[in-house]
Symmetry: C2
Subunit: 357 residues, 2 copies
């Protein structure tokens, strides 16, 4: 167990946004949510996944909404605690820990926004990156249920849901999220410590903090932040270019669209299109797909290594596009069935980003 103080939040948010792969929300929003809580309630306790007792009781606490809406409307921390407490009431037992559902500038930090609940945070998540849908988590691969799931919205409404499948949780909660304004707090996937140890991906907060530190150090030393990330996590720089067009809408509770880049430097005369659904889903270079989910496709400013989320990318940005291998759990048949390109409507097979040209 270690403590996370206010000073660590910037690195964690920066690194989590890199792991967010275009989604997971804006790091400024996430940092705002967490900073105030640490100032009020003291440093957060972060515990290693392996250290959990088998009978520990935990769940994910997350924001559900379109990232493009969240940058205009800050989620409220009180709803995170409301959702957590509602789920405890439904289950008839208290939680001992909470965990982030995914990496990402907001959702990696949402558990810190619930510090007033007094629970330690588990250094583990259900994605090892960010994904668009709440069923896109490693517990789904093991038959873990998203429900009972509780929701609290900004209007004071609350809901407890039980569904036959995790896909139904996504469908019904997405509809309710759109109807209530795309900015809900949810508590979901209640699980024991034994289940968490079998199901979750360890180390997301520590990894985010380390990635943030690497990028910050590279900036200070005038080295390439993108190279630092690739050297640490594997994968490759897929492209460097200038954004020439962004096509984006907030539709059905998603931030949907694509970004076009024209190459610069070594990539002069070449083109890339990255298509996103909250997160970046596929990268096409000169018309050929060179990276897909579940591998991480990240956009970073070439000079400063600032990760740019799908809702923030703008005409004129000079970006490095990185392809980074996903957690090995996602490259299994079951993992690819859940989060591979076909799950997002792309008629193409997954190829590990290390193996593409």
């Amino acid at each position: 167990m270690r403590y996370i103080d206010e000073a660590a939040l910037d690195d964690i948010a920066l690194g989590a946004t890199i792991l967010g792969a275009g989604g997971g929300g804006d790091p400024y929003v996430g940092t705002l949510l967490a900073r105030e809580q640490i100032r009020t309630h003291g440093n957060a306790s972060l515990v290693e996944l392996d250290s959990l007792d088998d009978d520990a009781q935990l769940c994910f606490v997350a924001v559900m909404g379109a990232p493009g809406v969240l940058i205009e409307k800050l989620p409220r921390v009180t709803e995170a605690v409301s959702a957590l407490r509602a789920l405890e009431t439904y289950l008839g037992r208290p939680f001992t820990h909470i965990a982030p559902i995914e990496a990402g500038g907001v959702n990696a930090l949402v558990p810190f926004s619930a510090l007033s609940a007094g629970l330690p945070i588990v250094d583990a998540d259900g994605m090892g990156r960010a994904f668009p849908s709440l069923e896109h988590v490693t517990p789904t691969l093991h038959g873990g249920a998203a429900t009972p799931l509780s929701m609290a919205d900004e209007h004071g409404n609350a809901m407890v849901l039980t569904t036959k499948t995790n896909q139904w949780s996504e469908t019904l909660m997405r509809a309710a999220t759109v109807a209530s304004g795309c900015c809900n707090m949810i508590a979901l996937y209640p699980m024991t410590g034994a289940q968490a140890k079998a199901w979750l991906i360890p180390g997301v907060i520590t990894l985010a903090e380390e990635l943030g530190r690497l990028v910050r150090t590279a900036r200070a030393e005038h080295r390439s932040p993108a190279d630092a990330v690739v050297a640490y996590r594997g994968g490759r720089t897929l492209f460097e270019g200038k954004v020439t067009a962004v096509n984006r809408s907030n539709t059905d509770g998603w931030t949907l669209g694509s970004v076009d880049l024209q190459g610069i430097g070594d990539w002069d005369g070449r083109e890339m299109t990255v298509r996103f659904q909250n997160e970046n889903i596929v990268a096409e270079r000169d018309g050929e797909i060179v990276a897909t989910v579940p591998d991480l496709i990240m956009l970073m400013t070439t000079d400063s290594g600032q990760p740019i989320t799908a809702e923030e990318v703008k005409f004129g940005y000079r970006l490095s596009v990185l392809g980074i291998p996903c957690d090995h759990r996602w490259r299994t048949d079951a993992g690819l069935a859940l989060t591979g390109p076909r799950a997002f409507g792309y008629d193409t097979d997954f190829r590990p980003v290390e193996t593409t040209a």
Copy 2:
């Protein structure tokens, strides 16, 4: 207290469909739901509203969905009981009675579909007719809360909702209903016997049965069923004509559209348009509004007095259009604010149908 047997269902369904004012669902569907339950569990116990003990515990049980979908997909009675039991579990106490939320071919009979729960049915409802939205009930006029509200859908999903306002219950449940296929059972407005006696409109089942009997008798005696309804309930025949056009869609969980009629007989050369949102909302004769919600606008076949719902009306039908006064509670300022024409987006004042030309 009296018993309702299988033989009474046809009259109740017929009369409830007249009171449904274009909505509330198809009487054939409602009768199917109830008949099987009476055959299995015996006759239903129907109790008068005034006879309830103050500490009785009741709620409405209803189908939520677009009537245009319900005629293609029969709601399942097991979900009605599931929703009821889920609400009991949430509240931590059992219900002693259930009540219909509205008149209407399906929803007046949904409580009969829950006979396996073993509860008597209260002869009272929250509308005295049918309305499109779940907040359009007399309890809303008294500050009664729609929630906690439970939902059970055909897929095995379930939800318990608490909302700040009854309008939010409508908004969130409508979204969930559309997402899960427009055919959910809900249990809502938990209330005590004392509250029910103060809030509800008494006698809906008995009134429906009587209206059904009147129409059936008029048919047998070759008298005008429309005249029989008007003689019993007041109001007037607004038009008789042939349907020349129907404009209808199932949109956002509603059956929306309008029906145009050309006059026959005394109404030769004149025109009427009736606009509906599940229920009939306004009737325009020769371009002038002659009836609006909350008064009841009913379409019945001129010869046989068969009430025709908005999802069933077809080109060529010869219909009588009736305007019947609503319950007096809806003609108060609060009642009109909730269910008057402006509440449905029509920029016109309510005028009692007895006073229009």
